[in-house]
Assembly symmetry: C2
Homo-oligomer: 136 residues x 2
DNA sequence: CTAAAACCTGACGTTGACGTCAGAGGCAAG
DNA sequence: CTTGCCTCTGACGTCAACGTCAGGTTTTAG
């Protein structure tokens, strides 16, 4: 298939696919006229790339880990890098979980404030003292 | 305390603290000569900011949610925004969890390959056919 | 054949959270 | 007073993952 179709099927832009190729993340056959042609497997590949990006890995890192992830071809060094990234993601998850808990407690507290009438009237601007300061 | 100390105590750079002030995330008193002076509470504040950044919120978003998070002063609108961000973080977490599982399975598979001797010898280059192609 | 779509390369623009450098004060120690 | 560290305000640099535009070729539809 050509770039447009691959883009449509994966949901990423054509520009992004060209970028992946630049970064050696995704190879493509070329027709005599120079147009890119991808096999079906490219769809999965792109989705994998997206997933790894979403995990916070850089292009460079993904390139390095690709042979391992795709073919299971690993060296001890690659395995170590893989473990490093795995741990990094784990830490990201716990960090996010803490942030989530924090926001949750804020939501709860703020919601309670709303219920007790602290500032639940959108009509009312913040005028705690409705006639106290010397006018204009 | 002054910027240098706050930076040292929070682990963020002086530049970052000035940036937070630019973004209205962190106010500072000024000495007559113009130097910034922070109260003790600034340490916690900076850590909160860091946590929210780590959660993927932008400066703009943090600024908007700050009054709610700090003082519990919420409007229905703020509560809604808060819930939106909460959900976003939740999705990030599940995404990361999936990526983590993927990497885990890769690690397991690759580790098994290593054990079965597939490519565990860093010495050996990839030469599946050690004398087949017509030499130079 | 022609017009429209899709594709190509190349190159500059964008965004966010800072890094870094320059030049000019401020402040405690000797 | 001078040395030396800290701080100040600009203002430009960076980095990643693309967006976008220009100007030209290829493929497809009619």
């Amino acid at each position: 298939m050509r770039v447009g179709e691959l883009a449509a099927r994966t949901g990423v832009s054509v520009r992004a696919l060209r970028y992946y190729e630049e970064q050696h993340l995704l190879a493509a056959e070329r027709s005599p006229s120079g147009q890119r042609h991808y096999p079906e497997s490219a769809v999965d590949r792109v989705e994998l790339i997206q997933q790894l990006y979403a995990a916070g890995l850089s292009s460079k890192t993904i390139v390095e880990l690709m042979p391992c992830v795709l073919d299971g071809r690993a060296t001890p060094e690659l395995l170590r890098r893989l473990a490093v990234e795995r741990d990094r993601i784990g830490r990201r998850i716990t960090d996010l979980t803490h942030a989530l808990e924090r926001l949750d407690s804020v939501v709860t507290a703020a919601g309670a404030n709303l219920l007790t009438g602290r500032s639940c009237r959108p009509e009312a601007r913040e005028e705690p003292r409705p006639s106290r300061s010397p006018g204009t």
